[in-house]
Amino acid sequence: MLELDNVVVAYREKPVVCAVSLTVEAGEIGCLLGPSGCGKTTLLRAVAGFEPVRSGAIRLAGAAVSRPGQTVPPERRGVGMVFQDYALFPHLTVEANVRFGLRGRPREEARARAERLLGLVGLAERRDAYPHQLSGGQQQRIALARALAPGPQLLLLDEPFSGLDVELRESLARDVRRILKEEGITALLVTHDQLEAFAVADRIGVMADGCLLQWDSAYNLYHRPTARFVADFVGQGVLLPGTVTGDGRISTEIGTVGGDLPEHCRPGCRVEVLIRPDDLVDAEQGVPAEVTDRAFRGADFLYTLRLPSGAQVLCLTHSHHRYAVGDTVHLRPEVKHAVVFPADVQGETRRKDAEMQRV
């Protein structure tokens, strides 16, 4: 449905998005995840038609809508958009906002469509209210209804939950996914919050410095990150140095683990292994580590531990496993298939890493 082919977007001469390629299939929800300033919103605006592309092409349902020097204007793309600040029209009622994009449809049809969408977002009874009379979450849902009303072939959402309370964010994110799936909408979301991305999207792309590092499912991003930045940004965890043993496993300070070795890696070569908090368990025996910090999270504790070498690791335990700061805990790895990166011997920057690993 949506295809980006080596898209470059630039302000003046400075490239903001570098040669991004990705595909969102019909009915799928894609997500661009990354820290602020990584170019994800710019890319979204290019898809919407607000920014021209410097090179590459954007195709919607097979037809090119952006290529260098030519841009189909936003109003002719059939692309809906939900803005970070919602951008509701303050001079129009809720219903009029939703019907804004239904101009030219028969009156009765437009009314019914608006009614259906207001029902879908659960705000039918507020149809005569003005935007400033609504709460943030309600405004967000109206913005969604408004963007969906014309039946766009693609829906874009720019940080749609960033202005909301944390509790509201999660429930609303689930609601949005449900609505999009029920309606069979193809969508592309932009966010800096991985939980939001995981809750809504089928396929997520992590962006850094204008480049797309990995375009994959949430599970794979977490368990099979292909770039050090992705490993770092998605989920918690630390990289521990290790050495490849004769049998192709990796020996680290906390024990020996198995995983896919980098190319050209022979026994004895130095690597780094991603250790997630749930990859470690406290045991009767194992590597001793000192508790330096702990966070109670209801069902579990998240401990920060110092290994004898001084390296810090995180460990998630059941909340019955109580230790005090200063206690010594014995750790054992429980990793089926570890994520392994070549050792960062030259101290290469993330940026170079990103370039090497570009999707």
Binding site: F50, P52, A63, T71, F89, P90, F100, G101, H132
Partner: protein, 551 residues
């Protein structure tokens, strides 16, 4: 799919708006151009004798009017927006009424009342048996008097903008301040006022620009300022170059003012947040507090409008039979027609330039628009000459060319037409309309444009369906402000108008200039009455925009 070019705002737009802004800056530039002409001898004379007076008096006048308008405007704006007391609803709109009162007219009426020979002092003398020199009474014809007169009719600018700003403020900021232990007064000075500062500064700078341009009041009171100095140098000394140089110096003051205003506004540039504002709970005042609030609002209204209007009314009753005739209807028609046409034209220009600044603030457009905006502080007669010279030059050049090419004379095509006059008004009052338009545009978040486009609207439709309704209040404000200003305008009208074309202001001036105040009263009162209606409309549109969802 249809393809359109990427280069969104076409270059013709940039070129066109730059050109337009330059044309509007032409009168000011013409005056500045005179600086190149030598005027050494007269200039030295001015520097030796009166220049320090001009500078000192102009500065003191500005300081005084700034203090006066701040005091009257901010206090009344705060009281009517944040407090509740008897009469508040009346004051909300009535406090704008002094805006309809031309400064020179209020100066005439107060002189009639407060002068040594006036009824008040005469009454004092006859009641106490005093004679001249036996008692102290403030001299109305003084710098202080001029400051008082100008403050009384100009404070509504500050009131208007400050009130809008106070109403827009989120109640949360106030509550936070109160919850942190600051009392109502400290909350006002440390939160509400700083938040409203850009609006207040804009209001004060408008008032100060008007004061700098004022001629009638200071001249009548015998206060030597730049404006009277320009007249004196030009007419008394017959030296237009030196007069223009004085005008250029005056522009220096204005430039400083504009810069200060811009600077203050840049520091606090914000779009209104998406969540909008909630209705602010008013402090309910009672007892002596309510009385003080009532007095603080009643005073500027009474002194700035009720007293002078009553005096005018009393005079007009006596002379209306003689002065109001068939010609008077034509005067009213001319005045109102001219003011409507000028307001529409100025608004249109301000819109075009406002969008030029929003979409493509290139340095040439920026410079030209700022130059053109300075016209507001330039005395009307200087603008008039700045319009007259280039228009006449253009007319005569076209005429000479036509004579040479075709042997026909085209005569004067623009000079001496209503078009020239309207152009002068546009230059003079562009700043007022532009302030309003820029303010209105600043409130339309760019994401609203994007949202409308993504919902299928072309750029032109976005203007009509999103900007127009959102800007309606703003546009009305700009329209009404210019309308009222044109009603009152005198010097440019006087010199640029076509044959047999009179306005109420011209009529008032001619009679008042001949010291026939009572005879001038009907025309003066008609100006005030013509100005009241838009002023009331203005305040109603502001209240409505608050109570409804209008941004």
């Amino acid at each position: 799919m249809t393809w359109v070019s990427n280069r969104l705002p076409p270059d013709g737009w940039t070129v066109g708006t730059t050109l337009l802004a330059l044309i509007l800056a032409l009168p000011v530039l013409t005056v500045v151009g005179y600086v190149m002409q030598p005027a050494g001898e007269v200039w030295r004379h001015l520097a030796d004798t009166v220049l320090t007076d001009y500078v000192a008096n102009s500065l003191l006048l500005m300081l005084g009017v700034a203090a006066g308008t701040l005091l009257l405007g901010v206090s009344s704006a705060w009281l009517t927006s944040a407090c509740d007391f008897p009469g508040r609803r009346l004051f909300e709109w009535a406090l704008l009424l002094p805006m309809a009162m031309p400064a020179y007219i209020i100066a005439y009426t107060y002189t009639g009342l407060l002068d040594f020979a006036g009824p008040l002092q005469t009454l004092l003398r006859s009641s106490f048996g005093w004679g001249y020199g036996d008692y102290w009474f403030p001299e109305i014809r003084s710098l202080g008097g001029a400051i008082a007169m100008l403050s009384l009719v100009l404070y509504p600018y500050v009131y208007l903008l400050a009130r809008a700003a106070f109403l827009e403020q989120s109640v949360a900021a106030q509550e936070v301040s109160r919850s942190l232990g600051a009392g109502a007064w400290r909350s006002f000075f440390s939160v509400a006022l700083p938040l409203a500062r850009p609006a207040v500064v804009t209001g004060v700078s408008l008032a100060l620009m008007e004061s700098l341009a004022d001629f009638g009041t200071v001249q009548y009171f015998g206060v030597d300022t730049f404006t009277t100095g320009i007249f004196r140098t030009w007419f008394g000394l017959g030296d237009s170059a030196a007069a223009a140089q004085l005008a250029a110096l005056l522009l220096g003051f204005v430039f400083l003012l504009v810069w200060l205003e811009r600077h203050s506004r840049r520091q606090a540039r914000y779009f209104r947040s998406g969540s909008g504002y909630r209705t602010q709970a008013r402090h309910r005042l009672s007892g002596w507090r309510a009385a003080v609030a009532l007095a603080a609002c009643a005073l500027p209204l009474a002194l700035g409008f009720v007293v002078p209007a009553t005096q005018l009314g009393a005079w007009a009753l006596r002379t209306a039979g003689r002065m109001v005739d068939a010609d008077f209807a034509a005067l009213v028609f001319n005045t109102v027609g001219l003011a409507v046409a000028a307001a529409l034209l100025t608004l249109l220009l301000a819109l075009v330039l406002g969008y030029a600044l929003r979409l493509r603030p290139t340095p040439p457009v920026l410079a030209a628009v700022r130059t053109a905006s300075m016209g507001y502080a330039v005395p009307g007669i200087v603008i008039a000459v700045g319009v007259m010279l280039p228009f006449a030059w253009l007319d005569n050049s076209v005429d000479a060319w036509a004579r040479e090419q075709f042997g026909v004379s085209t005569g004067l095509l623009l000079s001496g037409t209503l078009f020239a006059l309207l152009f002068a008004y546009a230059v003079r009052f562009l700043a007022v309309a532009l302030q309003a338009v820029e303010g209105g545009l600043g409130r339309i978040k760019p994401s609203m444009d994007d949202a409308a486009r993504s919902l299928g609207l072309r750029p032109g439709q976005v203007l009509r369906r999103v900007h127009a309704p959102l800007m309606r209040g703003t546009l009305l404000t700009a329209l009404l402000l210019v309308f009222v200003d044109v009603l009152k305008e005198l010097p440019a009208t006087l010199i640029l108008r076509p044959f047999n074309f009179n306005t109420l202001a011209v009529r008032t001036y001619e009679l008042a200039g001949d010291e026939r105040l009572a005879d001038a009263a009907p025309a003066a009162l008609a100006i005030v009455l013509a100005g009241i209606l838009p002023v009331i409309l203005l305040s109603r549109s502001i209240s409505r925009s608050r109570s409804a969802a209008d941004a």
